[in-house]
């Protein structure tokens, strides 16, 4: 195999810690093997990160196509584009693909895989072969899902509520549930790998208190991946067995309880949304520190808040069930806990703001995406608090208000952070600089398009437009048209980076080790890094975000 490091080359690198270009060209991970086999059988975490990035982009566009169909159909109050059944399948596909095949792996499996070993000073993750297996499991599940689509899709909504999914739905429920079941294993193995890596492979001097905040957030995410996903697995098994063999647990006719499904499903799915947002929060910490050339204010509080969100996130699932028929006392308890879980997110936002005080702020694309994140995530989070208020939720539950809230977090938040990460670490991953001007334009298009798409949906929800509605009363049309128009602008923002980033791969300026003058071990390696990351394992003796020296040299 061509990607085994040549020992003679390695030897030649020792003692030449400062050298860059020729070393990079000889042993960069991108050039260590050109065959398809060297990519498909790689155990290099950086290559696996790249493989994931390509896959999730593919699935994102499938989910986005479903969204486009939905928004086109909603231009008119009558269902002109699709039939009722077709529309129901469209929103189900949108949910299933976006949640499990895009959002959940979006940052951990791409940037997490690529960066964690680099950030902690390790050569790879603890279990490199398991990492590759995770990707194959993800791809298998993804192909399964494509097959489900071709076979006619499924129409239960991504939430598979019983008894609709077990006894009444006509689509390919078991196939869809199986696809999600399979991708769950990819999640669990990824989380396992990250947890063990962060515990055991930190280089000398890299104490927990010196870890970049991105690592803290991925670690917290991994706890959720490992502990929550199995509950989804058993829930999917239960509905599949009920559908396939009539082994009903949720069937009221034999004394079962349909609500039990909801408890089990949301016990996973609420922590799942923290899987989607915690890595994004970690990315934003990195982008703010780098954009302001200043240590993150309140490092310990920000690190601790990630763990607090992960822990508290397990105890709030009942806020999806306030009107389901659960007891008043259960609802009151879940409402209280849902308020509590919002506090650590607020702590992060306040700390980021304080970080900018007396900083050295540069409006490069990564920082701009961090700002769009903060703008949109704050609004999404505060509307989440509104939903946590029981009496308000009774009115807006299962309406477009909820849809707007979670898209503010998942698109306004997670996708902002994903784009920010992409624009920040692109030079490291690919070794080229891209057009900063176009990056800034994308951030602006994204912010405007996003708000146009989803802000009207808050109004629609309060007005009483329920979610998953194919036809709607005519007086809601204007707001729906604005929303669809915004989606078109948003679509442009999604496609633009594909163009200038791919362009940069061929024509961009070669990137130096540290184009942003940022701190972090990943920036001490060449861009792109060599296959084994470091010529010699680093020894850390400085706090994280140690920008003092930079500040002294550059800005005085």
């Amino acid at each position: 195999m061509t990607d085994v490091a040549d020992p003679k080359l390695e030897e030649a690198n020792v003692g030449r810690v400062g050298s860059t270009e020729t070393v990079a060209q000889r042993v960069s991970y991108l050039r260590a093997g050109h065959s398809l086999k060297s990519w498909l059988l790689t155990t290099d975490h950086k290559r696996i990160g790249v493989l994931y990035t390509l896959s999730i982009t593919f699935f994102f566009f499938i989910g986005a196509a479903a969204a486009a169909l939905i928004r086109l159909d909603l231009l008119t109050p009558a269902g002109d584009l699709m039939t009722n059944e077709g529309y129901n399948r469209a929103f189900t596909v949108h949910g299933v693909v976006m949640v499990w095949f895009f959002l959940i792996p979006s940052i951990p499996n791409t940037f997490g895989n690529f960066l964690i070993p680099l950030m902690i000073g390790a050569k790879d993750l603890a279990f490199p072969k398991l990492n590759l297996l995770s990707w194959y499991i993800y791809m298998l599940a993804g192909l399964f899902t494509v097959f489900v689509l071709i076979a006619g899709g499924v129409d239960t909504g991504w939430t598979f509520y019983t008894p609709l999914s077990t006894m009444y739905a006509n689509g390919n429920v078991i196939l869809a549930a199986s696809a999600v079941f399979i991708v769950g294993f990819s999640s669990i193995l990824t989380g396992l790998n990250f947890i063990v890596t962060v515990h055991t492979l930190r280089c000398p001097g890299m104490t927990w208190g010196r870890l970049p905040l991105f690592v803290w957030s991925i670690y917290a995410t991994s706890l959720i991946l490992v502990l929550a996903t199995p509950v989804l697995a058993i829930t999917l098994v239960l509905i599949s067995l009920e559908r396939l063999f009539g082994l009903g647990i949720f069937n009221p006719a034999i004394g079962g309880d349909p609500l039990l499904f909801q408890h089990l499903f949301w016990f996973y799915s609420h922590p799942a949304v923290y899987i989607m947002v915690l890595p994004a929060l970690g990315v934003v910490s990195e982008l703010v520190a780098a954009g302001a050339h200043k240590p993150i204010f309140g490092y310990q509080f920000v690190a601790g808040s990630s763990i607090a969100i992960a822990a508290l996130g397990f105890f709030v699932w009942g806020h999806h069930m306030f009107v389901s028929g659960q007891s008043l006392y259960a609802s009151a308890a879940f409402s209280f806990l849902s308020i509590a879980v919002a506090i650590p997110s607020g702590v992060k936002v306040y700390n980021w703001t304080a970080t900018l005080f007396k900083g050295h702020i540069s409006l490069d694309p990564p920082f701009l995406f961090a700002m769009t994140f903060i703008g949109l995530f704050v609004f999404g989070g505060l509307t989440g608090l509104m939903l946590a208020m029981l009496a308000i939720d009774v009115h807006v539950h299962d309406t477009y208000f909820v849809i707007a809230h979670f898209h503010y977090i998942m698109v306004g938040g997670t996708i902002s952070a994903f784009f920010g990460a992409l624009h920040y670490w692109w030079p490291k991953i690919v070794g080229r600089m891209y057009s900063l001007a176009w990056g800034r334009v994308t951030a602006i298009f994204f912010f405007i398009g996003f708000n146009l798409t989803f802000f009207p949906q808050f109004l629609l929800g309060y007005l009483g437009m329920p979610r998953r509605y194919h036809v709607y009363p005519p007086e809601f049309q204007v707001l729906n048209v604005i929303s669809t128009g915004g989606a078109a602008v948003l679509g442009v923002a999604y496609v633009m980076p594909l163009i200038y980033l791919i362009y940069s791969m061929c024509y961009g300026k070669p990137a130096p080790n540290d184009p942003w003058n940022a701190t972090g071990l990943e920036w001490t390696t060449p861009s792109p890094p060599p296959k084994h990351n470091f010529e010699a394992l680093p020894v850390v003796d400085r706090p994280p975000y140690d920008y003092e020296i930079e500040m002294r040299d550059e800005h005085v």
């Binding site: 063990v196 515990h199 055991t200 502990l227 509950v231 009903g248 647990i249 069937n251």
Partner: protein
């Protein structure tokens, strides 16, 4: 003690690699506990909602067979523990025999389970679709559904464990696993087996001994 354990990338020393292997297995077992935890929560919810019917349905199960199975599985765990001990001592052939013994006990468990399912089938209690069943009430039907799912899922995990032990015992017999350097492989496999045993130790009273 001179550490002849091999160190593979990305690890830099044997202790670090050992720690990682143990932690990895414990994290994986944590996820398995959450998987069965969901089932136990369902069982608890059903019990809370229909206590008298559940007790009645539980009485219909054959706790003697279940008890025997519990003893079989506990003994197999003992065999695995002894196998791990001999692996640490470098005795590959003896380890192999302990593992084969444990796997055989596992198979005995499965055979007893099949026999038990057959008994329940003739008693009209097994919830097979299309087959006439004789439940005392609907909740017994619900209980038997859950019983079949839980014991079935456990049997799947046990079967994986049996295959794992057999595969390892073959490799040990042919000398492909160097002991005691690679004893960690046996330790982690043993942990999996013990978990499957522990899960049964909880399943048994929940289903057979609900009073």
């Amino acid at each position: 003690m001179s550490d002849a354990r091999p160190v593979t990338d990305p690890f830099t020393d044997p202790l670090q690699q050992h720690r990682a292997a143990m932690m990895g297995m414990y994290v994986f077992l944590g996820s398995e506990i959450m998987l069965f935890g969901g089932l136990f929560c369902v069982a608890a919810a059903v019990r809370l909602a229909h206590a008298p019917e559940i007790v009645h349905a539980s009485r219909a199960l054959h706790f003697g067979i279940g008890g025997l199975n519990t003893a079989i599985l506990l003994t197999s765990s003992l065999f695995v523990a002894l196998g791990v001990e001999s692996a640490n001592g470098g005795r590959a052939k003896i380890t192999s025999r302990w593992l084969v013994g444990a796997a055989a006990l596992g198979l005995a468990f499965l055979m007893m389970k099949a026999y038990e399912y057959r008994m329940e089938f003739t008693e009209g209690l097994l919830p097979i679709e299309g087959v006439h069943s004789r439940y005392a009430d609907d909740v017994q039907h619900l209980f038997m559904n859950l019983y079949l799912i839980a014991t079935g899922l456990h049997a799947v995990h046990l079967s994986i464990g049996i295959l794992l032990l057999i595969a390892l015992s073959f490799r040990l017999a042919f000398g492909s696993i160097k002991l005691p350097e690679r004893a960690i492989v046996l330790v982690t496999a043993g942990l999996y087996w013990h978990l499957v045993d522990v899960i049964w130790v909880f399943l048994y009273p929940v289903f057979y001994l609900a009073r």
